[in-house]
């Protein structure tokens, strides 16, 4: 039994409305920065985004080509496995649907790969039909490097570790291949509404 420290309350923890905030989460007004490694410093001239793997033809966009794709602004709630949730966050990005327009694949899964080596895996169905974006803007500004800029994957319906920072491409696969955190304890799928934080949850 841990020793309870008299009078300690911790910071004010607002559980928020249960229809917006998943179980075990608290609302935050900040935007905490958590990184598994150093912030990459990729120049836009060197940046590209590719879709590879189980696909007929590799698809690649330079930064300018990527920015020429149809993009949109959108507002979503985000939920980090470390228990903070942030409601009504404003972003700008290209929907994965736009990137997959014309792409022929039998693959059911994908692995996002990023500058710095981070990876995360998702079923392809979880990033299509308006469920995910490659985001390049946050709160009316270009996405800050510490938050994943120039561009990050954004998949708000899953825990935020799936919204890979500094994303550079997706590899389409026929099997679900655990990424960086999924290989070492974190849940393969990560649905915050079923509190799927760790293996076996």
């Amino acid at each position: 039994m841990p020793i309870v420290s008299r009078g300690f309350k911790g910071s004010r923890r607002d559980e928020g409305p249960p229809d917006r905030v998943p179980p075990g989460q608290y609302l935050t007004n900040d935007f905490p920065v958590l990184s598994a490694g150093p912030t990459p410093q990729t120049r836009l001239a060197d940046w590209d985004f590719t879709i590879t793997g189980e696909i007929d033809e590799l698809k690649r966009w330079s930064w300018d080509e990527f920015r020429a794709l149809p993009s949109e602004t959108f507002t979503v709630d985000i939920h980090c496995v470390t228990k903070w949730s942030k409601l009504d966050t404003d972003w700008e990005g290209v929907a994965l649907d736009a990137l997959f327009d014309g792409v022929d694949t039998e693959a059911e899964y994908m692995t996002a790969y990023c500058d710095g080596g981070y990876t995360t895996n998702l079923p392809l169905a979880d990033v299509l039909d308006g469920k995910a974006w490659i985001a390049f803007g946050y709160d009316d500004e270009p996405l800050d490097p510490e938050h994943g800029g120039p561009a990050r994957l954004l998949v708000p319906h899953l825990y935020f570790w799936k919204s890979a920072k500094w994303v550079r491409g997706l590899r389409l696969t026929s099997t679900d291949e655990p990424g960086f955190w999924e290989s070492n304890g974190y849940h393969l799928y990560g649905d915050p509404w079923r509190e799927q934080r760790y293996w076996g949850d």
């Binding site: 920065v33 958590l34 990184s35 598994a36 490694g37 150093p38 912030t39 980090c80 496995v81 470390t82 710095g116 080596g117 510490e146 570790w161 960086f180 955190w181 290989s183 070492n184 304890g185 974190y186 934080r197 760790y198 293996w199």
Partner: protein, 86 residues
């Protein structure tokens, strides 16, 4: 230069829970580049888990995830760890 970067000292307590002894003085050899450093001197990032990276090449040396009752440890990035027994 990353303001969020810490060093092995920040992971000392966690590593002591895992190894049962102080390993900040243990020398780890990076499987990425072969460099050897005391674990107290490696880079540490506190994110959804604790990540130890080689200060020379930034490859991941170790990754530790902790839930309420379980602990996952990936040490694949350490080719060898030299500990001194008391």
């Amino acid at each position: 230069m990353d303001g969020l970067r810490l060093d092995g000292n920040a992971a000392a307590g966690l590593l002591q829970d895992i190894f049962g002894m102080d390993v900040t003085v243990a020398d780890g050899t990076c499987d990425g580049c072969g460099a050897t450093e005391a674990l107290g001197a490696v880079h540490v990032y506190l994110a959804a888990g604790t990540v130890l990276r080689c200060p020379h090449c930034e490859s991941v040396l170790m990754s530790v995830v902790r839930s309420e009752r379980r602990l996952w440890v990936d040490v694949r990035g350490v080719r060898s760890l030299e500990l001194r027994t008391p």
